[in-house]
Amino acid sequence: MNPKRKQRLIIVLFIVFGAAIAVGLVMYALNQNINLFYSPTDIVEGKAPEGTRIRAGGMVVEGSVNRDQQSLQVEFGMTDYANNVTVVYNGILPDLFREGQGIVAQGQMNSEGVFEAVEVLAKHDENYMPPEVADALERAGQMPEQIRAKEAGQQ
């Protein structure tokens, strides 16, 4: 390669790696702000800011969903398999909201340590399968969330 091209190649590499390092440092500094939500552990350990609106994400605890008979009020537990947070929400839940499924809720911690959500979004995972396969896996205790729960329990 002639010296001129080599010089231009070095400039191109400099642009690419320079930009990568700059952006990398910015993102490292802003790491917490890029996370969409805090986990229940973050909230319990006090890493999440209090008295301001935050997003919290985790799995809906099996058997914890409690619907009010008179209103849209719903109460459920949210877990990351290490800590739990109770969430109350007054509104319509997305179709994919289920026990054992991931959700991201926007809201605020109140003085009793309950998370008052103003918005609840369903977070689904990367697994897709036909219903029959899901049934078969369910029977064998091999559903993705069950596996995850098991793994989290072992840690």
Binding site: F37, L96, Q101, D125, E126, D135
Partner: protein, 250 residues
């Protein structure tokens, strides 16, 4: 002293607009037929024969447009940046033309990925848009494409325009790994990758195969549109050369 050739012969042949025009003329019908078969077949397979998802039912089928377009938007950007770099280093005109041809295609595909994602997000997540790392970095990709298009058309001189856009494209290249790993590095609402070639897919085989067909079909479609734009660009820039004149008077 003759310069040592350290790249394969075809690389230097690519530098000739005329050779490029001829070879794309031969490749074009092959890719067009492949794209037609794969996209029609893949769509039918995806919409009619693939089973519904156990949780999302039929609404998951938008994955067959969303995932291929998202993958392609990123591949197209990489191609644009690499072509820009080759144009910068080797001063290869054809590489500049390839980079210029890529930008509007990539922008359209990125819009398609974002739009299908929003349409999918409403019924599944409960929101059209969330400012999580994956969605935001994908939006930045669209803005990078728009920036490249605007910069290219703002500069009169073709050579200067190509250099400026190549530098912008190279700076924006850092966004590609961010898009890819955003779902692993940060907490996002967007789920991790379903479609991978390196690991066992997180999807039943009868759902994954039509997705694979659609991804390859999207790549073939991209090749067709890309070559059409490239040929158009070659003819336009080489309009004063004798071979183009012969071709036109033909």
């Amino acid at each position: 002293m003759a310069e040592k050739k350290w790249m394969p012969r075809w690389f230097y042949q690519l530098a000739s607009p005329r050779w490029c025009y001829q070879i794309t003329g031969k490749l074009l019908p092959i890719f067009a037929v492949a794209a037609l078969i794969l996209l029609v077949g893949g769509t039918a397979w995806a919409l009619i024969y693939a089973p519904a998802d156990y949780q999302q039912g039929n609404s998951f089928r938008i994955i067959y447009i969303h995932v291929p377009s998202a993958i392609l938007a990123q591949s197209c950007y990489m191609m644009m940046a690499v072509a820009g770099a080759i144009g910068l280093i080797w001063k290869m005109k054809v590489a500049d033309m390839v980079a210029k041809a890529c930008a509007p295609i990539g922008a359209s595909i990125a819009i398609l990925a974002l739009a299908t994602g929003a349409i999918w997000g409403k019924p599944t997540w409960g929101a059209w848009w969330v400012w999580d790392a994956r969605l935001t970095s994908m939006l930045i990709l669209l803005f990078l494409y728009l920036g490249v298009i605007a910069l290219n058309s703002a500069i009169e001189s073709e050579q200067t325009a190509a250099q400026a856009t190549a530098v912008l494209a190279l700076v924006g290249l850092v966004n590609i790994p961010i898009i890819k790993y955003s779902v692993d590095w940060w907490n996002t609402l967007h789920q991790p990758a379903t479609f991978t070639l390196t690991e066992r897919p997180a999807m039943a085989m009868e759902m994954w195969l039509p997705l694979l067909v659609m991804v390859i079909g999207f790549y073939c479609f991209f090749a067709v549109v890309m070559m059409l734009r490239l040929r158009n660009e070659i003819i336009q820039r080489e309009r004063r050369s004798s071979w183009v004149r012969e071709l036109i008077s033909g």
